[in-house]
């Protein structure tokens, strides 16, 4: 990161775009706590989280869907869901009672999986699901954590047009209580859901504003030169 500083408003849909290597995933890793900041501070709803480990940040309300699907491949859909929903609950340390006894979590999990249309497949190993289903599950589980901040790292990567529009719908229906930061290369997705766009280049912010101003920004067009058409969703 190169002297990077910005703030996000609660409830905002902020997209972060930039060429490969611009530092988008690194930025998410910093926000999430997977990378430690060598300099600077990170504040989350007024609290300084710079030195907090990832799991503490998750507890405070950060959820993340990773660029490379990071579900637990060798476990079932149900186990993945149960684990995610238990993650911020105090009884995740309970050792003497079977998981199924925790009815409230189980009901919540069932509800989430049914909403994602994956309840029927709950005993399938995640590695046996179709890629689109895995994506849907990962994002859906991030939502099930009821986060205040949802970090979506290339949610539409590898998806068909149809699957991408499902993802767009999910993001649009997030509700005001959730702030969403989205990194994506698919400009259709970006321009559909973003209220504000930040453009990153070599770890620096070179543009920050609503979609229309970004589309018309000279420096941004230069950086995407050669792929200039991509910034104009209508031309795809």
């Amino acid at each position: 990161m190169n002297d990077l500083s910005f703030s996000v408003n609660a409830g905002e849909r902020l997209a972060i775009i930039g060429p490969n290597g611009a530092g988008k995933t690194s930025l998410f890793n910093l926000i999430n706590g997977q990378f430690s900041a060598t300099a600077g501070q990170i504040y989350f709803f007024g609290e300084n989280v710079t030195d907090l480990p990832t799991h503490r940040r998750a507890y405070l309300g950060m959820a993340r869907a990773f660029q490379i699907i990071s579900l637990l491949m060798k476990l079932t859909v149900l186990d993945n869901a149960l684990l995610t929903i238990h993650g911020t609950k105090p009884h995740r340390y309970k050792m003497l009672h079977p998981v199924k006894e925790f009815k409230d979590v189980f009901e919540k999990t069932k509800h989430s999986l049914k909403t994602l249309d994956l309840w029927e497949k709950r005993d399938e190993l995640v590695k046996n699901l179709a890629y689109g289903e895995q994506r849907r599950l990962e994002i859906g589980l991030g939502l099930a954590m009821q986060p205040k901040l949802l970090l979506l790292d290339e949610p539409s990567a590898g998806l068909t047009r149809e699957e991408s529009s499902d993802i767009i719908e999910i993001i649009k229906n997030l509700g005001e209580g959730i702030t969403a930061l989205i990194v994506d290369h698919d400009m259709d997705v970006v321009f559909e859901v973003a209220e504000r766009i930040i453009v990153l280049h070599y770890g620096q912010i070179i543009a920050d504003g609503p979609p229309e101003s970004i589309q018309n920004d000279q420096m941004v067009r230069e950086i995407y030169m050669g792929a200039e058409e991509c910034l104009d969703p209508v031309n795809i």
Binding site: P53, T54, H55, A58, T76, L78, D79, H86, T88
Partner: protein, 332 residues
């Protein structure tokens, strides 16, 4: 295994009957076995417990530890030292002390070892185990006069009026410990904690991102694992009437590892099956091939990895699934 999914009725019925038959056999053993056979079964139960404890740290938490005998031996040595230096025979003093020492050792070693991961973790656990081995070898206070190790251990005194333990009653005592430990460990791995442990084994950073303090989970697994290894070590010392530095070092540390891998990692029945195979092959092979039996055991280990990579126990489980599915379809 996790929540085990939604199991078919047939499978559940079959598992339950295996458990019932197994329990019956275990309880009835002394009726038809010679004292040698009884001793063998006692040895099997002790090592099955030792292997199950190892499955928690390796099979479920995914931590490859090469120093698990440190806790086994710590429990055993405490009992032996209390007898040697303080003449303590009372089980209700020796055993709790032994367990406490095993737990403290695991608590200490866990903090040291978990600063590392992967191969470095393995090396640290190995080094810590060998350190205890070296202490036991060299420190006079830790040995009987003029010997390597501590002899003169007898079966424990349970302070029940009019009752003295003999080897048959000791078999039942070990059986009770095995069953209770098995039940506790079963609950542990099916609990939210157990599920989290499996998640951590698969992908630490995802689990962190979802809210789990992964270091703490691993540490707790390490200590619990050490506790049950300690119990096995205590029981083994009474069975053996003797404890030696070898019971702290790599020679003993690799045993639960082989048994667990052979039987099936991350399932609690796998280590039990692995222990059974190991103990019985060790016994019979050493009768028929007194010099070559380790070769036979080694060969068996290699073959089981080649043909039943996930473990003999898991292989049998899958066979069972195929059979019950086949039965189900025939029935229909």
């Amino acid at each position: 295994m996790g929540t085990g999914g939604t199991q078919t009725k047939q499978r559940r019925w079959f598992v339950n009957s295996v458990v019932v038959v197994g329990a019956f056999i275990l309880v009835a053993n002394p009726l038809y076995l010679s004292s040698y056979g009884e001793g063998l079964m006692t040895r099997f139960l002790i090592f099955a417990l030792f292997a199950m404890s190892y499955d928690i740290v390796f099979g479920y938490a995914g931590l490859l530890s090469l120093g698990h005998a440190a806790f086994f031996g710590a429990g055993g040595y405490t009992v032996a030292l209390l007898k040697l230096h303080f003449g303590v025979d009372l089980f209700w003093i020796s055993a709790p002390f032994g367990l406490l020492v095993a737990v403290l050792t695991a608590a200490l070693f866990g903090i040291i070892a978990l600063r590392a991961s992967g191969i470095y973790f393995l090396l640290v656990t190995f080094a810590l185990g060998q350190m205890l081995f070296s202490l036991a070898w060299n420190v006079k206070w830790l040995n009987s006069k003029g010997m390597q190790g501590i002899t003169g251990i007898t079966l424990p005194d349970l302070a029940i009026p009019g009752f003295t333990l003999d080897s048959t009653w000791y078999y039942y005592m070990v059986l009770i410990f095995f069953v209770i430990s098995g039940m506790l460990l079963y609950r542990l791995v099916h609990s939210p904690y157990g599920l989290a442990l499996m998640g951590i084994r698969e992908d630490v950073s995802r689990m962190e991102a979802v809210g789990y303090n992964t270091w703490l989970y691993k540490y707790i697994a390490f200590v619990i694992s050490g506790a049950f290894a300690g119990i096995a070590g205590i029981l083994f010392t009474y069975y053996n009437f003797f404890v030696s530095p070898n019971h702290l070092g790599i020679a003993t540390s690799f045993l639960p590892m082989v048994m667990t891998i052979m039987g099936g990692l991350g399932t609690l029945f796998g280590p039990v099956i692995g222990a059974a195979v190991f103990i019985f092959v060790e016994n019979y092979a050493s009768i028929f091939a007194p010099q070559r039996w380790p070769l036979i055991l080694g060969g068996l280990f290699v073959i089981s990895i080649m043909f039943a990579r996930d473990g003999i126990g898991v292989y049998l489980w899958r066979l069972l699934n195929k059979v019950t599915q086949g039965y189900g379809s025939i029935k229909n």
